[in-house]
C-alpha cells in the first residue's frame, strides 16, 4: 500500500530471520488476477489484495501476513485463504486482523517463524518502525500541500524516493530522526511557486482507495497538476495510533450530525467534512471503492453537511475496471467549477 512497505519490511527483516518478499507494486496485472478469482460483489480492495497475494506466492513466498480490520476487511483473509488453496498454492497465512491482533498471538506467531526471536529487540525495532511511519506521514503531508506548485518537475517525487531509500537503511532511532530533520529541511528548500490564496481541496473517503495511488488512478497527482493544495487525513499513522482518539473527537465535535460511532472511518469522515467546511476549503472529494458499505452509510450525512456549508463535493466510486478518461473529465470539471466559484 503506497510506500508503507518500507517500514513493514524494515520491521520484519530486523526481528525475524527469514527472507522477506516485498509484494510487487500493484499493476494492471494484479487487478486482472484479483478480479478473476474474486466473488461478484466484494469491494475492490479484496480484489487488489488477492491479486497481490497471488503475485507474491508466484515469487516463492511461503508465509503471508495480513494486517487490518475495521469493516469486512477483517474477514477477507479466511475467504482468500480458501480461494488460494483451491488454486493449489501451498502457504501459511498469518492473520493479524482486528479482534485477533493481541500481543500474545503476535508473539506466538513470530516465534513460529523464528525461534530465536527476542521480545526486547522486537519492541526496539517496532519503535523505530513506528517513528518511521510517523515521519513519512509528516513529509507526505507537506508534499501534498506543496507539490502542485513545484517549479522543477518531479523534484518532490525524486527527493521523496531518495529519503525513503535512506530510511530503509537506518538502524537506530536517533539517526532516523536526524535523517528526517535533514530531509524535511531539504523539502522546505525546494523551489515552489505558491500563491497565497491558492485553491484548496480536501480528500476523504475509504482508506484503502485513498492510500493506494494505483487504485484511485493517481487522483492526487492529477489534482496537483491543477495547482491545488491537497489535504488528506487518512494515513497509517492515523489508522494505527490515532484512530480511537479521532473518533472520540469526531463524536464530540459533530454532535449535530452524528450520535453513534460508525463502522470503519465513516465517523472520522463526517467530522473531517465539517472541519474542511469550517476551514473554508474550496471543495471536497470523497473517494471509495464500490460496495464500501460503511462509506455508503455515511455519504448522505456528508452530503448534508457540505450542502449546509455550501461547499462543493464530488464522489468517486472506484472499481477495478473504472474508465480513467471518465475520472479525468470529472476532475477537470470539478476544478473548473471551484475556480469559477472563487470569482
Amino acid at each position: 500500500m503506497g510506500n508503507y512497505y518500507i517500514p513493514a519490511k524494515y520491521l520484519l527483516s530486523h526481528i525475524v530471520d527469514a527472507d522477506i518478499i516485498i509484494p510487487p507494486f500493484i499493476t494492471a496485472k494484479t487487478i486482472e488476477l484479483g478480479s478473476k478469482y474474486s466473488p461478484d460483489f466484494v469491494c475492490t480492495p479484496f480484489k487488489y489484495t488477492l491479486g497481490t497475494m497471488i503475485e507474491s506466492l508466484e515469487q516463492g513466498a511461503s508465509i503471508l501476513i495480513q494486517f487490518g480490520g475495521g469493516c469486512r476487511y477483517g474477514y477477507y483473509s479466511e475467504l482468500q485463504e480458501q480461494i488460494l488453496k483451491e488454486l493449489g498454492y501451498k502457504f501459511e497465512l498469518l492473520n493479524l486482523v482486528s479482534g485477533k491482533a493481541n500481543i500474545k498471538r503476535i508473539y506466538k506467531m513470530i516465534k513460529r517463524i523464528d525461534k530465536k526471536f527476542n521480545i526486547f529487540k522486537g519492541l526496539y525495532h517496532l519503535y523505530i518502525a513506528k517513528n518511521m511511519v510517523k515521519y513519512m506521514d509528516r513529509v507526505d503531508d507537506y508534499i501534498r500541500k506543496n507539490v502542485g506548485f513545484e517549479v522543477n518537475k518531479n523534484s518532490f517525487d525524486n527527493l521523496n524516493k531518495e529519503m525513503l531509500d535512506k530510511f530503509s537503511k537506518v538502524n537506530n532511532p536517533i539517526s532516523l530522526y536526524i535523517l528526517y530533520k535533514k530531509y524535511f529541511h531539504k523539502f522546505k528548500k525546494l523551489k515552489i511557486n505558491k500563491p497565497k490564496n491558492c485553491l484548496k481541496v480536501g480528500v476523504i473517503g475509504e482508506l484503502y482507495t485513498l492510500m493506494e495511488p494505483f487504485s484511485n488512478y493517481y487522483l492526487e497527482k492529477e489534482l496537483a497538476s491543477y495547482n491545488i493544495e491537497i489535504k488528506r487525513f487518512t494515513n497509517v499513522n492515523y489508522l494505527l495510533f490515532k484512530n480511537k482518539k479521532t473518533i472520540k473527537k469526531a463524536l464530540r465535535k459533530s454532535k449535530k450530525y452524528m450520535k453513534y460511532k460508525m463502522c470503519a472511518d465513516a465517523s472520522s469522515n463526517i467530522y473531517w467534512t465539517k472541519y474542511l467546511c469550517n476551514k473554508k476549503y474550496d471543495g471536497i472529494i470523497h473517494i471509495k471503492s464500490s460496495f464500501c458499505t460503511p462509506e455508503i452509510g455515511s455519504m448522505p450525512i456528508i452530503d448534508k453537511i457540505a450542502n449546509n456549508y455550501n461547499v462543493p463535493i464530488i464522489y468517486f466510486s472506484f472499481d477495478a475496471n473504472t474508465s480513467e478518461v471518465g475520472i479525468k473529465t470529472r476532475l477537470e470539471a470539478f476544478y473548473d467549477m471551484i475556480e469559477m466559484r472563487r470569482q
Partner: protein, 313 residues
C-alpha cells in the same frame, strides 16, 4: 469578419458550430462519429467550410467531448475543455437565467446546477451506461423499433410498464421478460422512457435541488417520451431548445472566442494525415498502452504513460 469554431466530439455523434463575434450561430452541422473521431471531424469541417461565407476568417477553435484532446491536437485548438463547462457556457448564452441543466448523452449523463451564471454544483453518472442514449438505442434495436420512432410511440401509451433500470444487465433481462409476457410495445417503450427518467433522478440527480428554469439537452432530449416523463415527474416545465444538441459545441466556440489571439486558423485539413499508433510499453508489468500521435508523419505527442520510463527510453 471574425468567426470561431466549436466542435463537440461525443461517443455517438460529432457536432460543430461556427459563431460570429456576437455568439450568433452562422452555420452548424451534426454527423455520426461511427467510432472514428478523426474522420468524422474531417467530414464535419468540410461541411462547415462549404457553408461558410468567404468573408469570415476563423480566429479560434475549441474542442470538447470525449475525444477533445485528440481532436484538439489535430486542429491545433486554442481551447480544450470538458463537456460540463462547455454545456454550461453554451446554455447560458441562450438562457442567461437557467438554474438547472439536465443532459443525457450517448455514454454519460449529467446534471449542472447554476446560480447567477455560475456553476454551483454538478454530477455525472457513475461510469455505467445504464439509462443513457446508447442503452436506449440498443434496447430499441432489440424491440426492432427505429430510434426516431421511439418518442412518438411512447406518447401513445397510457399505461407504462415498470422496468427496473438501475443496471443495464438487470434492465435487459427484465425487458425481455416483459416482452415475452405479452405487454404492448408502446407500453414497454413508454416504460423504458420513464425508467430512464427515474434512474436519472435517482442517480445523477440524487440530493440535487432542481429549480426552474430547467433545460434538457443531449441526444436523448430529442426523445419526446423521455421529455414527457421529466415534465410529469419534476412537475415543472422543461425546456428543450431546438439547438439543444449543439450546446456543447456552442459553449466551446464561445470559450475559444474569449481566448482567441490574432492567430488565423486554416480549415483545410483534408490532406493532413493524422495517425495514432499504440505500443505496449513493457517497462513494467503495468504494460501501459502508449499512444504515439503523428501529424503528417511527425511525432507530436505521447499519451498513456503512467510514469516517465517510456519517454526516457
Amino acid at each position: 469578419m471574425n468567426c470561431y469554431l466549436g466542435i463537440d466530439i461525443g461517443s455517438i455523434s460529432t457536432k460543430g458550430v461556427i459563431i460570429d463575434d456576437n455568439n450568433k450561430i452562422i452555420t452548424s452541422s451534426y454527423i455520426w462519429t461511427e467510432g472514428n473521431p478523426v474522420n468524422s471531424v474531417k467530414k464535419l469541417i468540410n461541411i462547415l467550410k462549404n457553408n461558410l461565407d468567404k468573408k469570415y476568417v476563423v480566429k479560434g477553435i475549441g474542442t470538447t467531448g470525449s475525444a477533445r484532446k485528440l481532436i484538439g491536437l489535430l486542429l491545433d485548438a486554442n481551447v480544450v475543455k470538458n463537456e460540463i463547462m462547455a454545456h454550461a457556457i453554451g446554455t447560458l448564452s441562450i438562457y442567461p437565467d437557467v438554474k438547472t441543466i439536465l443532459e443525457i448523452g450517448g455514454q454519460d449523463s449529467k446534471i449542472i446546477l447554476l446560480n447567477n451564471g455560475i456553476i454551483t454544483d454538478y454530477a455525472m453518472n457513475t461510469l455505467c451506461a445504464a439509462g443513457t442514449g446508447s442503452f436506449l438505442s440498443s434496447q430499441a434495436k432489440r424491440l426492432n423499433i427505429n430510434i426516431e420512432d421511439f418518442g412518438p410511440l411512447a406518447l401513445k401509451s397510457n399505461n407504462p410498464v415498470k422496468i427496473a433500470a438501475r443496471c443495464t444487465v438487470f434492465a435487459e433481462s427484465d425487458l425481455i421478460h416483459k416482452a415475452q409476457v405479452g405487454y404492448k410495445k408502446e407500453d414497454i417503450v413508454a416504460g423504458l422512457c420513464k425508467s430512464i427518467v427515474l434512474n436519472y433522478l435517482n442517480n445523477v440527480g440524487k440530493g440535487k435541488k432542481i429549480k426552474s428554469p430547467v433545460i434538457f439537452q443531449g441526444g436523448v432530449s430529442k426523445n419526446l417520451g423521455v421529455l414527457k416523463y421529466f415534465k410529469e415527474i419534476l412537475n415543472t416545465d422543461v425546456i428543450v431548445d431546438s439547438n439543444s444538441h449543439l450546446m456543447g459545441a456552442l459553449g466551446i466556440a464561445i470559450l475559444s472566442k474569449k481566448n482567441s489571439s490574432n492567430k488565423i486558423y486554416d480549415l483545410n485539413i483534408q490532406d493532413v494525415s493524422f495517425d495514432t499508433k499504440a505500443v505496449d510499453c513493457g517497462g513494467c508489468s503495468n504494460n501501459c498502452e502508449i499512444l504515439r500521435i503523428y501529424k503528417n508523419n511527425k511525432l507530436i505527442d505521447i499519451w498513456g504513460n503512467r510514469c516517465d520510463k517510456y519517454i526516457k527510453n
